[in-house]
Symmetry: C2
Subunit: 338 residues, 2 copies
């Protein structure tokens, strides 16, 4: 492998001068020398060894994209389409800034802190955070900048980028109310376990309250899993004598499941039941009827996260900031006007 030493020898200068060229210390090298050195580097397509550089500089230009594992397994959550998209955008935005992206699934905070030191990482971005003590511990113990996406801590100094989930839940419900619906159900994986879902639920209640309505216990579908959950909701609704006319689901996949379940049970969507989703993921476009859903801008989320991280890397005093991104309704055909 060709090193800085070889370049220096051929150029007839010291390694120091070559180092100054690499690091763009223009003031320290004459233009003529610089050009000569650049030509030689080009000729051998020399690239600096990052191991040597980071050994001295204590910085590697590596940013970790952190992913928790599926509960109770060592599986990577990257297979979740949302995670893939987000990671893709992050990679894109970090690459533009000449950072390297390391993918790290983890089970506990210590693993992350270790790998961070192992590579002297410059920063980390956590996606799909679980609602468990591990993430909290990580946020508290990290020495390097960490941006958490989709989770806020009111009592901790953190850098975070979230959606305005309350507004999202509210918007979805208002949309249905404006279409004339008054009997609106709510379906979520588990209403009380995640702050995100809690916020959406609060938004739902707030919107109902605006119209003088309150939620009905029997129209709250809590703790439905994503896989079969939607179908279970459809099944439950089909058995009711007093049915809701619409349902707000906190995730598109859940909404899709509900629609599929309805179709097998003679309930027409949207004629008999209107369905709102959340995310605007690919399946929302593919199913029939197209799913009306609360859309977020994932690229914007990635962009804000990277910008926040960059600022934190430059400014050690910048360790507490929260960004809340807006949402909007994407209309398709799963909601009917009453």
């Amino acid at each position: 492998m060709i090193t800085i030493k070889d370049i220096a020898a051929e150029a007839g200068v010291s390694v120091m001068t070559v180092s100054n060229v690499i690091n763009h210390n223009h003031a320290r090298v004459s233009p003529a020398t610089e050009q000569r050195i650049r030509d030689i580097m080009e000729k051998y397509s020399y690239v600096p060894n990052m191991a040597a550089r980071s050994l001295i500089s204590k910085s590697s230009r590596i940013i970790a994209v952190l992913l928790p594992m599926w509960h109770g397994s060592t599986a990577s959550m990257l297979r979740d389409p949302y995670a893939g998209q987000l990671a893709g955008y992050l990679e894109e935005l970090l690459r533009e800034r000449e950072y390297y992206v390391m993918l790290c699934s983890f089970e506990n905070a210590e693993q992350v802190l270790q790998v961070q030191r192992t590579w002297q990482m410059d920063g980390m971005i956590l996606i799909l955070p679980h609602e468990d003590p591990v993430t909290r511990e990580l946020v508290q113990k990290t020495q390097k900048p960490l941006v958490v996406i989709d989770r806020r801590y009111d009592d901790l100094e953190t850098l975070s980028v979230c959606l305005d989930d309350r507004a999202g839940g509210c918007l979805a419900t208002q949309y249905l109310l404006k279409k004339g619906h008054r009997k609106i159900a709510f379906a979520a994986p588990s209403i009380y376990e995640s702050s995100v879902i809690r916020d959406r639920f609060e938004g739902y209640r707030a919107a109902l309250a605006e119209y003088g309505l309150t939620e009905r216990e029997d129209w709250l579908f809590d703790n439905v899993s994503l896989q079969a959950g939607g179908e279970a909701v459809a099944e439950a609704i089909s058995r009711m004598s007093d049915r809701p006319t619409a349902v707000v689901a906190t995730e598109d996949l859940l909404a899709c499941g509900i629609i599929k379940g309805c179709q097998g049970r003679g309930i027409q969507v949207p004629m008999d039941l209107s369905v709102m989703g959340f995310d605007d993921s690919m399946p929302a476009r593919l199913i029939t009827p197209g799913l009306t859903t609360v859309a977020q801008d994932i690229r914007e989320k990635a962009d804000q996260s990277v910008k926040m991280l960059m600022r934190a890397i430059e400014d050690p005093s910048f360790r507490n900031d929260h960004r809340v991104l807006g949402v909007r309704v994407k209309e398709r055909q799963s909601v009917r006007e009453l």
Copy 2:
């Protein structure tokens, strides 16, 4: 930061002995000393600095997951759900073996070779390879082990893991033939540009030939994009006087688009038209009717790729091997018996 030197000092041994403990050279350290050193490392939660290690060893335990960019943009293909899933499995399998995963999108071969040297990567896995000269150049020039997924080169020494796409196309078509269909269309993004699609098409023709049939030009839907492509196919079919009774699509998303297009044009699936997909991706389960499709085992693909890479890292003479994985039909409700 705590270093090997600090550990050595506290244990009253040389740094060399600590190094031997880290590197599991059990023969070179007495059990008692080893335990003492381990305790001290634990106490300070010491982790070795990889930059220093790889500087000497010329190996970093970093594996690149390589992704080409979308043609004509700098966007990462990771947002493709298939890429995300595959990358997730790869991360999982590499992590188990104590490798680190770096995510690298690239436009040209030189970029990859540079970053490989920058980090002294041990190996690379290329996913979603384009059918262009860049990948070919990369395969030819790389000095380090490279496993290419989903693309084979008959004239180059490579490590590759592919699906048996010909068998897949054949299986899909045979399935329809056995259900009594004789008028079978074929839809693909672009039949002649990708070896994968070409193979599936060949399988389709071979299956038809078994029944003494040949393909009909007007039932070949070539060059349909994924987004609107499916709907365009449905539109074209709806205008035909002599319609096919079934269609083989080379991707689930395309198949979903066809189904959605049919539903808007009064064509019932599967009553009027049977549809076969390829991939068994999430939307296949979510749409109604459920999509009957050719399924592949993505985890197995990742597993074979990682195993191949590991062998190549250990054995420098192992640079030419090809693995072909089987496929099977996953039955749902989009195909009707005639």
